[in-house]
Symmetry: C2
Subunit: 227 residues, 2 copies
DNA sequence: GCTTGCTGAATGAACCTTCACTCATTCTTC
DNA sequence: GAAGAATGAGTGAAGGTTCATTCAGCAAGC
C-alpha cells in the first residue's frame, strides 16, 4: 500500500541521501539517482561557464538526461542552483564540525580549518567556485537563502577563535567574527587567484602551511605590544 | 522579485555623483559626461542586481539616458562592463601607487593599503562589489581582460611585502604573492559579510585597525633585529 | 509463458517570454 | 538649416519552460 513513497520525482524536496554510487556502465540504467546526477552535472558546468552562461540544456546533456527531466526534480534553473548550494554546504558544515570536534586546542582547530578549506578548494574546485560565486550574486532570492548557511560556516570559525581567546592562547583585542571573515576571505582569495591562473601541484600544501603560520602568528597572544 | 531593499535610499549620494558640472544654463552642451554618467549608473545597478539580472534599459534609466544612447558610447553590454572595470581599476591603481610612495616603511605601507581598501569598500561599496564579482565571472572575455588588471593590484601589495622581507622587518618564510592574495582576500571577505549584513557605523575604523594588527602581527619577523 | 493494458517517468520539439540591440525620427546647437 | 546627438519603439534571436507523446516495467488474464 505504500506505493513507493519516493517513486514520484515531481520537484519535491526529496532529500536523497544517495551518495556516491552508480557506476555508469552503459547509457540507460536504473533511474535511481537522477537528482544527484543532475546536481553533479550542474556543479561542473556552472563552475566552467558560470551560472548565467550555462544553458539548462547543457546541464541536461552533461547529466545524460533530457531537458525536461530537470524540471521533474527542480522547479526552475534558479531553484536548481539554490538546491545545489544548500545540499553541498550542509554536507560541508557537518563534516567540518566532526573534524574539528576531534581536536583539542583551538590552534590545531584553526590549522585544520585552513587545511580543510584549502583541501576542498583543491579537490573540489568546481564546487568551491560555485559556492563562493553564488554567495556574491547580488540581492536575489539566492542571496537571501544562501546567507544564513554561509554565516553558519563563519560562526563555526568564529567560535574556535573565541575559544582560544577564553583560553588565553589567542589575543583578545580582535573580534572573533572579524577574524573569521578575514580567515575565510584569505582562503577564498587564494582560491580566486588559483582559479584565475594555473594551479600548480604542491601549491596546496605550501599555501596551507604558510597561511597557518601567518594567521596563527597574527592571532597568537604575545607579550609584544603593537605600535 | 521585489526591489532590493538592502541599501537605504541615500539622497546624499546623488549629489556626489554629479562630479562633472554640466551647465544646465545653456541646455545640453558637448555632453562630455554622458559616458561617465552611464558608467556610474552601471556601477550602481550592477552592484544592486548583478550584471546578468540587469537590463540595459535599467542602466539607461538610472543614467537618465535613452537605451540607444548607451550604444553610442559602448559596443555592447559586455563591453560596458569591461570598460567600467578597466576605467575604475586604473584609477584605483594610480591612486594607490601615489599614496604608498609617500610612505617610508613597508609596515606603514601595508597598513595604508588596508585602510585604503577598506575605505574604498566603505565609501564606494558598489564599485568594490562590482569589481570583485566581475573577477569571478567565469571563463569569458571579461575574465581574460579583467585578470591582468587585477593581478597588477595584487602585485602592488606583493612588492610591499617583498620590500619588507628584504629589509628584514617581515618574515621571509612566506611567499609575497601568497600574502598579497591572503590580504586581499581577507579584506574582500570582510566586505562580503558587510554586504550580506548591515554595516554598522564605525565598523570600518575598528576593522581596519584590528586587521592591521592581525596581519602585521602575522607577518612581522619574530626576530626583532633592527637592521 | 505469452498477450494485453496500465502507469508514470522520461523525453525533446515547440512555444512564448524576455531582452540586447537597431535605426528612422526628433531634438540641439551653431 | 545642417550636422551631429539623442531617442525609444520595434525586431529578431535566444533560451527557459511546457506538455503531448513514448516506452519500460509490471500485473492480471488467458
Amino acid at each position: 500500500m505504500s506505493e513507493g513513497s519516493f517513486s514520484k520525482p515531481r520537484a519535491a524536496k526529496k532529500q536523497s541521501v544517495r551518495a556516491v554510487d552508480d557506476a555508469e556502465a552503459g547509457g540507460l540504467k536504473r533511474t535511481g539517482d537522477k537528482r544527484e546526477r543532475i546536481l553533479r552535472a550542474a556543479v561542473e558546468v556552472f563552475a566552467r561557464q558560470g551560472f548565467y552562461k550555462t544553458r539548462v540544456s547543457e546541464v541536461a546533456k552533461a547529466a545524460g538526461v533530457a531537458d525536461g527531466t530537470i524540471y521533474l526534480y527542480f522547479d526552475s534553473k534558479d531553484q536548481l542552483l539554490l538546491s545545489l548550494f544548500e545540499d553541498r554546504i550542509e554536507k560541508l558544515l557537518t563534516f567540518l564540525a566532526k573534524e574539528i570536534a576531534a581536536l583539542a586546542s583551538p590552534e590545531e582547530k584553526l590549522r585544520r580549518i585552513i587545511e580543510l578549506q584549502l583541501g576542498l578548494l583543491d579537490g573540489e574546485r568546481e564546487l568551491a567556485e560555485v559556492v563562493t560565486i553564488i554567495v556574491r550574486q547580488s540581492n536575489t532570492l539566492l542571496r537571501e537563502h544562501a546567507a544564513p548557511k554561509f554565516l553558519a560556516y563563519l560562526d563555526a570559525i568564529a567560535s574556535v577563535v573565541a575559544e582560544g581567546q577564553r583560553e588565553g592562547t589567542f589575543r583578545s583585542d580582535v573580534s572573533p567574527h572579524l577574524v573569521a571573515r578575514a580567515v575565510f576571505g584569505a582562503l577564498d582569495g587564494i582560491a580566486l587567484t588559483w582559479a584565475l591562473g594555473k594551479p600548480e601541484v604542491g601549491a596546496l600544501k605550501r599555501s596551507a602551511s604558510q597561511l597557518s603560520a601567518l594567521i596563527l602568528g597574527g592571532i597568537r597572544s604575545s607579550e609584544r605590544t603593537s605600535p
